[in-house]
Amino acid sequence: MTDVAIIGVGIHPFGRFGDKSAIQMGAEAIRAALADAGVEWKQVQFAFGGSREVDNPDAVVGLLGLTGIPFMDVYNGCATAATALELTADAIRYGKYDLGVAVGMDKHSHGAFTADPVHYSAPSWYGDIGHFLTTKFFGMKINRYMHDHGISAQTLARVAAKNYRNGGLNPNAFRRKPLTEQQILDSKMLNYPLTNYMFCSPDEGAAAVVLCRADIAHRYTSHPILLRATALRTRSYGAHEVHATWAAVEHTPAPTVYASRAAYETAGIGPEDVDVIQLQDTDAGAEIIHMAENGFCADGDQEKLLAEGATEISGRLPVNTDGGLIANGEPIGASGLRQIHELVRQLRGQAGDRQVPGTPRVGYAQLYGAPGTAGVSILST
């Protein structure tokens, strides 16, 4: 199998952009990634595009140039971008192509996501009685976790405050205004113990990555970043997951744990080797749980780690250095490629005001979402 390198990253800011279409944002993200890689669109041999709202992300070719390349569209919930990345990487790993693009784009309306529960293998009445809400699941999951592992509401507030603070350092973030822990705790309780400012919101944006065979990466850049592993997993029997009318008494870890283990094994890298981390912080509680699910600490250690500032940009476990979903919002198709964009900037030493000190060498990104899907990517210099 051929190793794969990331030679270019590009992002369209996340937020609200009036009438601007997701396709336009996607095309701009690709142009930025191509410019970063020093590659022209006509050199791109294939692409994968991810979106929830756009049926045909491949329509970006109308803005970039109708070169006739294969362009495959994917949707895989909150793991959509990780899926586009893995499929693009696999096509190079298995020798079909030398150079391709992964892009994600979305443009969501305001408020929590909704859909027909039947499409999530839940009965239609699940929505009728008011249970079909991702936010409710996250409230239930962190409430039990806090009970089992001694995590306080203050720690939830610390996570959110950190991510807003990091967002303030990121010109592409949606929410750039710092909020105090008290403001976060005092905002409206939406799904106990999670308050309004502890949640991310759906928004708009796009991100793109140019990948190629690692052995030709030096033709394009003096600092290629290796994509050491990608792994996707769905839930196993015994996991308590989003949009489920029931859960088994028998317990198994969440899909993130399985994706994480697989990615570490493929990369030959362990959590102790990781220098900069991007986790799915759909809400502040999710970031706390995902710290443990991805092997960065034991269950319950988060209380102390957050109090010490370990997950700050200057800490020993920097998490969501660009503000995460809480500060960037979640355009589903693009969210995971925003994480990759941030990791690449960090590993190249190009993250500006939010640069992790020292010389970070290994980056880690994780996505998780309904109905129980996780994606993990590991990068290194």
Partner: protein, 146 residues
């Protein structure tokens, strides 16, 4: 007054002692709620209808403080919406089921509290028909004579 279940085959209704309707795998004994035609544990298609235990304990919970978007069908508006709590309730050692709780105040909810199934009027339609749903209510400790 007519009282109808919000959907067929979710709970026995009308019934003196209603129960949730699940299914049980004839191969591996996995239990689901509601019924489903195949087993999520072993993949078998031999599933039999199975009434779930009526009592259980609270495994986890949260509150729902804002009006859910459509398809929520309570007929409430943001102005009339009454917040509620939702729990994941372990019924015996068989299965954990998501359901509304009849108490919404976090101060009155605790992990492991004993709960029992109740059927309650979820919505009243214009013709007066009550649409019934299921919930879990605390099992009060038996009080002695005072």
């Amino acid at each position: 007054m007519t009282q109808i279940a919000f959907a067929p085959d979710v709970f026995t209704w009308p019934a003196d002692d209603p129960a949730l309707i699940g299914s049980r795998c004839q191969q591996c004994a996995a239990v689901t709620f509601p019924e489903q035609p195949s087993c999520p544990r072993c993949g078998s298609v031999e599933m039999a209808r199975h009434l779930l235990p009526r009592e259980g304990t609270l495994w986890t919970w949260t509150t729902q403080a804002f009006l859910p978007k459509e398809p929520y069908a309570s007929g409430e508006t943001p102005e009339t919406f009454t917040p509620f709590a939702v729990g994941l309730v372990q019924l015996g050692d068989e299965v954990r089921v998501e359901g509304r709780l009849t108490v919404a105040d976090p101060a009155r909810i605790s992990f492991g509290m004993r709960l029992r199934l109740v059927i309650f009027p979820f919505r009243t339609d214009e013709d007066g028909t009550q649409v019934m749903s299921y919930a879990f209510t605390p099992v009060e400790p038996v009080e002695g004579n005072r």
